[in-house]
């Protein structure tokens, strides 16, 4: 089976996080889902809340900011600036969690297409191991709040798309 699998997260060095995933879709569509505010709103919060605001100024020097309200009611926001924008291929941007404003990371996102499938890889480079570890820890915050309701939503969307 290709696509639709889990994310694969590895820690290549003490200061990096690498996230990879294959999608059953061509590159230009994955790039579009990744960079279009209306579409980002539908996936970025995962199961952990609702995305309330997405700003994307997709050009070198342009800024981005994502905000979500987590299921616990608190607000979580990230922002950064694009350094490189190669449509359908590669994005390099900074990324700052607004709860930890001193811990800026540089994120390199690559889109590689093969046989109408796209491999997405996200390399997050932190300045220190402590910052990297805090970033990985952020995955634990909402973990307990997840439920099966997400599966129902996915199923419903698939049916309505037919």
């Amino acid at each position: 089976m290709t696509g639709n699998g889990p994310a694969v997260v590895t820690l290549p060095t003490d200061t990096q996080i690498l996230i990879t995933r294959e999608f059953d879709a061509p590159c230009h569509l994955v790039y579009r889902a990744w960079t279009t505010p209306e579409l980002i709103k539908r996936w970025w919060a995962g199961d952990r809340g609702e995305v309330t605001s997405v700003e994307v100024d997709l050009r070198p020097g342009g800024r981005w900011r994502y905000v979500m309200t987590a299921n616990g009611g608190f607000e979580v926001a990230f922002h950064g600036q694009y350094h490189e924008v190669v449509p359908g291929e590669r994005l390099v941007s900074t990324e700052v969690f607004e709860g930890m404003p001193d811990a800026a990371a540089v994120t390199t996102t690559k889109f590689t297409e093969r046989d109408s499938h796209t491999t997405l890889s996200i390399l997050v480079q932190h300045q220190t191991r402590e910052n990297r570890d805090a970033h990985v820890n952020s995955g634990m915050e909402g973990g307990m709040q997840e439920s099966l309701s997400h599966l129902e939503k996915v199923a419903r969307a698939l049916v309505s798309a037919e």
Partner: protein, 128 residues
């Protein structure tokens, strides 16, 4: 996540690059101290020091065979680290599962309906 001292916590034990080298070496089979010295090019006192830390946190186990002490990886002690990354991985798996839904719709060229009820696709225009 609270971190304990190096000698009691697997997270800090694997934070040291040379200890990770030792773990990689013993992960592929039992090794003696002299094997590790030869394989990793580290001086004996350093190998012994790192092995001691790894044994104290349970990442490495040892047994004696004749006059040789052989060291091996205890994979179960890595589980807390695996679990730690797993939570972060789950967040991304959830995001990607939602992207799959979005992509299914994009592939079928159905209008993308946002929460506001309009049919905008964001006007990115990169794919015509």
């Amino acid at each position: 996540m609270a971190r304990a001292a190096t000698t009691t916590d697997a997270f800090n034990a694997v934070a040291e690059p040379r200890r990770r080298q030792i773990l990689n070496a013993v992960a592929t089979g039992e090794r003696s101290v002299s094997d590790l010295i030869a394989q990793l090019g580290m001086p004996q006192p350093l190998v012994s020091k790192h092995l001691r830390v790894l044994r104290e946190v349970g990442l490495v186990a040892a047994r004696d065979e004749g006059r040789l002490r052989l060291y091996r990886l205890n994979g179960f002690a890595l589980k807390p680290i695996y679990d730690w990354v797993k939570d972060f991985e789950n967040l991304w798996s959830d995001r990607f599962a939602r992207m799959d839904v979005v992509l299914t719709e994009l592939k079928q060229a159905t209008p993308v309906t946002t929460k506001d009820g309009d049919n905008s696709d964001g006007g990115n225009g990169d794919d015509g």
